[in-house]
């Protein structure tokens, strides 16, 4: 039972991050925190051994990124108060969200390996990591859309013209920056996995013999 404590801690940290996101109505960070919460909950049920480190690191990273995004680096603090232009803020937001997603990619591999008896070598862990990271961006933008754009769902079914609250270029540049970050992470992860003959399995990180 005692070995479950760090996993439970990770769930609680992720829950705190969700709460922080809801507090300031930050759609992207609510989505990423919710992913951290789900992955931590899966780890609580299925993971064994030292894997808790990955989930605690992921939850703490997401919590820190959420706190940064809702306070010091929020749109309101940096753009509305004139500290920087929206384009510069786009880079800052993309970097902070990208760091959170990278920690979630690792958590995703460990959680799914334990829950579904998967085993990832350098091909799956390195080759697919950037795709999984980009996939995590979509729920992030969907929640941003639903929370931050007035009349969002009505605009999807064509009833109401919704108001643009962010520029399209900032969304695209944000996604591009994250794409570059995830590709670099993917390449690095692939190389490390090849060199150290690592596998992510149901038992955590293993060395292939």
């Amino acid at each position: 039972m005692r070995d479950r404590v760090p996993y439970f801690l990770s769930v609680m940290i992720a829950a705190a991050s969700v709460a922080a996101g809801i507090w300031k109505q930050d759609g992207p960070m609510i989505a990423l925190s919710a992913m951290a919460f789900i992955l931590s909950a899966v780890s609580l049920a299925y993971c064994r051994g030292d894997s808790w480190r990955i989930f605690v690191i992921a939850s703490v990273t997401v919590l820190i990124c959420t706190l940064i995004m809702v306070t010091a680096a929020s749109h309101q603090t940096l753009v509305d108060e004139g500290t920087m232009s929206e384009y510069t803020w786009t880079y800052v937001a993309a970097l902070v969200r990208g760091v959170a997603i990278i920690s979630l990619i690792l958590a995703f591999y460990f959680a799914t390996a334990a829950a579904f008896k998967a085993s990832y070598n350098w091909v799956s862990a390195g080759g697919l990591a950037w795709l999984i990271g980009m996939g995590m961006q979509v729920p992030m933008f969907v929640l941003m859309f639903m929370i931050e754009v007035p009349g969002a769902i009505d605009s999807v079914i064509g009833n109401e013209p919704a108001v643009d609250i962010v520029s399209n270029a900032s969304i695209v540049i944000g996604m591009l920056i994250n794409l570059a970050m995830f590709m670099a992470f993917s390449l690095y992860m692939g190389r490390v996995f090849v060199k150290r003959r690592w596998l992510i399995t149901a038992n955590g990180l293993e060395v292939r013999r």
């Binding site: 799914t112 998967a118 799956s124 980009m134 961006q137 979509v138 941003m144 969002a152 079914i157 591009l176």
Partner: protein
């Protein structure tokens, strides 16, 4: 009868049936789209009154007639053979696109563009599903996506990814050309991502149902590329 001969007989039957379907598609699909071309040229298409230029609709009909002939032609040349469920989904998407274009749905129905994003995202996720099944079949035993749940979870994430990649392409085209040609603003992009996500989720649910009946390896065995693989399967190789 010898079981091997029996197996060979049934595979030859499958081959014959697949070739018949390919011939039917090769004739019927481009022909039906060329009928739409005539319909457009005679000026009856509602897409013309909705605002599409005639040349645009005519060229779209010709282009899609050629594209629709590619897969059946490749099957007849023994270059590629795909599962029926995927072919039906792909051709339904292509017909929906060309019919809605000639009927002006993109202009007359404000929700249509997002609806087509849902269907297109389903097609892309279906391609990813087949790729993951192929990967599962050809990977060494120490590299596996695990059970049905493992494959569908990875499928969902990668299916979602291609929605984002598509929107990057649309948005970047507009940034480079300095014209609102593809994305029409952030709400349009976010709405498309919402629709893409819905399509990826729907196809993942379908993949979950398919994997309840067949294993990833069985699904992968129906995706055959190259004459060697097609002959091996249709002439008793399995």
């Amino acid at each position: 009868m010898n079981p091997a001969t029996e197996e060979e007989g049934s595979q030859t039957k499958i081959d014959r049936r697949e070739r018949k379907v390919a011939w039917a598609m090769l004739i019927a699909c481009p022909l039906s789209v060329m009928l739409l071309f005539v319909y457009v040229t005679l000026g009856y298409a509602q897409g013309l009154t909705a605002g599409h230029p005639m040349e645009y609709l005519q060229m779209s009909c010709i282009l899609w007639a050629v594209i629709m002939a590619v897969l059946p032609a490749f099957r007849l040349m023994r270059m590629i053979s795909l599962p029926y469920w995927f072919i039906i989904l792909l051709y339904a998407d292509m017909y929906m696109y060309i019919l809605s274009l000639t009927h002006g749905f993109y202009f007359d129905l404000p929700w249509w563009a997002n609806f087509t994003h849902v269907i297109s995202s389903m097609v892309v996720t279906a391609i990813v599903f087949m790729a993951l099944c192929l990967m599962e079949k050809h990977s060494p035993s120490h590299n596996t996506l695990g059970s049905r749940g493992g494959i569908t979870t990875v499928l969902l994430m990668i299916g979602l990814c291609f929605g984002a990649v598509w929107e990057i392409m649309e948005g970047f085209t507009d940034i480079i050309t300095q014209v609102d040609y593809m994305s029409y603003g952030s709400v349009h992009t976010l709405g498309n991502l919402f629709a893409d996500a819905l399509g990826a989720v729907l196809m993942t649910m379908i993949a979950w149902v398919i994997m309840g009946r067949q294993s990833a390896k069985q699904i992968a065995s129906k995706v055959r590329i190259g004459s060697k693989n097609i002959d091996k399967h249709t002439h008793g190789g399995y």
